[in-house]
Amino acid sequence: MSSYLDMELLRFTTAGSVDDGKSTLIGRLLFDSKSIFEDQMDQVKKTSQKRGLDHTELALLTDGLRDEREQGITIDVAYRYFATPKRKFIIADTPGHIQYTRNMVTGASTANLAVILVDARNGVMEQTCRHSIIASLLQIPHVVVCVNKMDLVDYSEEAFDKVVEEYEAFAAKLDVKDIRFVPISALHGDNVVNRSKNMDWYEGPTLLNTLETIHIGSDENHIDCRFPVQTVIRPHSDEFHDYRGYAGRIAGGVYKPGDEVTVLPSGFQSKIKEITTFDGALEEAFAPMSVTLTLEDDIDVSRGDMIVRTNNQPDMEQDVEFMMCWLHNEPPRPRAKYIVRQTTNEARAMIKDIQYKMDINTLHRIEDDKSIEMNDIARVKIRTTKPLLTDPYRRNRHTGSLILIDEATNDTVAAGMII
């Protein structure tokens, strides 16, 4: 039990083209790690029988809403949970079809790791490239390529090596630091949770073992101190009469009492007086902790402001350039106003310039056609009504990300990774 309290959390996303075996793989991971309950399994067995299958379709374990069950496809991001004695896992399960880019971008936005499936018979396909490009664009720190259906290629080492070679050639163009490969059969369970007896030639860890041991401690930025203020805490009680604290979740760096800080955008300087929590004041706090800071001086701080170290400040600009993924089925309207949300800040914005669209299968720039549709990725520039406090997304995923909201409909229409 104490070991359970000592676990880390790994969030990963899964990607693959339709029929590469993604649902089967997730079902297999859940089943072999004993995360499936009897009543869930009973339902799946019943449904498998109803459909006239002679095996239990593990893929059904991860099936979501009824509309999709009727259509036999999944249409959004679904979250799954399982734990082993070593780690707790959150899977953002994103299905592969038309709305794919949008879904994968969503799932990838909070992931530390991407599992990308490749069918051993087909090798690296256009879709594989697309998934990998999204993983790279969203700066998922770790990628595990699972070469699936090894049973259908006689568990052959050559077949596996060929996929690895193809993938490595393509991945040289990407911005992913850590790529690993595992040969698996999701259907039969080889190298998913249990070691395969059919592939003696493979000496690396199983998929689960990789997920359990991969080092995720340095995925957060612990260098640049960034504290976006969510809300001001004023207890108005006798005991805390003059208390004024700034509540937020640390987006980067390590904070200590006595640190010299600057409040942006005002530029007022002060020192951290106390790091308040319900469990007592802290000696230090780091990303991604939720804490409340008090300052030595009585200065005006409100939601959307950022408390940073005086000697290390983010960019403060009204012209913001980013890679945009368009999420909505209606294209951007000319001269439309959007609300941009970035950390806890909000401003109005207009898209000033679409520099190029990106071919999401090849990374090529498309400069002659700049019409934006759902699932398109483009490099754009916006002008905001007030300065945003940003870092490049590559440097900090919390302060480097933004969304656009349509003022007219309140829909979230785009996601952006600041350059």
Partner: protein, 301 residues
């Protein structure tokens, strides 16, 4: 480097506190849906942490089916007292008396379906623009796709095909008049996480969760507690069993499991070894494979 990592419960806690503070910042009149169950108790505990040293800036909102475990109501009232927060009660009995809904009949009758109307009426009456709940994505298939910020139209309905995409931790709580949100700050917690957290934080919970002697009948493959609201069949035999409850709902349909787990530590061990989902003991989810999803579309929690 090892120094600057969070353990998973700390990370989940931090995420939930962040969500609670976003709700406070983005809405005018939010409330915590409080059922007296362990998930809403954990949610309330997290709210306390999120705004410390200030008090919880939201009322607790209880949809009272009238078919409660008496222990639940006592627990609720003493918690409200201790925290010094306001309590809003939406009464299903009143909805029935006012003719807004009709009581189900028959042996498996429950007031679970009826709660939806009471919930939506109370939301409207108190102009609540955000109702926070302790629902978790691991509870049920239909919940696995639920957002943290779940948008409801002006009929309180959930459209699974038309949910706003939710990226990073950038939550979009914008709405027009009449619409409201459901927000689920502990979306990413599992049953195990909740129990571990209750244990680690020494959070007070109703004794119903801990194994105790009780009069029960065997019905729908589970031990249903004997209460004033239950209609016994002739062939049903009332027996005394040592049971505990994994969820607390309407007393007429919430089944207990036989258990020797009379301490939190033992419960955690039992949960770790469990082979049945916690909702497996709730008759309301058994009606059809998609019953939860149908209720959600209508505006259920």
């Amino acid at each position: 480097m090892q120094k600057y990592t969070l353990k998973h419960l700390q990370e989940l806690e931090s995420e939930s506190i962040y969500v609670l503070r976003e709700v406070f910042a983005q809405f005018e009149n939010p409330a915590i849906l409080f059922s007296g169950g362990k998930d809403s108790i954990v949610l309330t505990h997290l709210a306390r942490k999120a705004f410390y040293p200030a008090k919880i800036p939201f009322p607790l909102f209880h949809v009272d089916t009238g078919h409660n475990f008496p222990e639940t109501i006592n627990f609720r009232d003493s918690l409200v007292d201790k925290l010094g927060v306001k309590l809003i009660v939406g009464s299903v009995q009143k909805s029935i008396d006012d003719g807004r809904v009709k009581e189900e009949r028959g042996i498996n009758a429950s007031r679970n379906q009826l709660q939806t109307t009471t919930l939506l009426d109370t939301i409207e009456e108190h102009q609540i623009d955000c109702a926070m709940g302790g629902a978790r994505r691991d509870e049920e298939k239909a919940r696995a796709k639920e957002r943290f910020f779940s948008h409801r139209d002006d009929f309180g309905q959930w459209d699974p095909k038309n949910q706003r995409p939710e990226l990073w931790n950038l939550f979009n709580g914008r709405k027009v008049m009449g619409e409201h949100f459901r927000v689920f700050p502990i979306s990413n917690w599992t049953e195990m996480d909740v129990w571990q957290y209750i244990l680690a934080e020494k959070i007070d919970i109703p004794g119903l969760y801990i194994a105790h002697e009780r009069e029960v009948v065997w019905r729908n493959d589970t031990w249903i507690p004997v209460s004033d609201y239950i209609n016994l069949r002739d062939d049903e035999e009332v027996v005394k069993k040592k049971v505990r409850f994994r969820t607390l709902g309407d007393i007429t349909i919430t089944g207990g499991v036989e258990s020797e787990a009379d301490t939190l530590e033992k419960i955690v061990e039992e949960v770790a070894a469990a082979r049945q989902t916690e909702r497996g003991n709730r008759a309301d989810d058994k009606r059809s494979e998609t019953s939860m999803e149908d209720r959600k579309k209508e505006g259920y929690f």
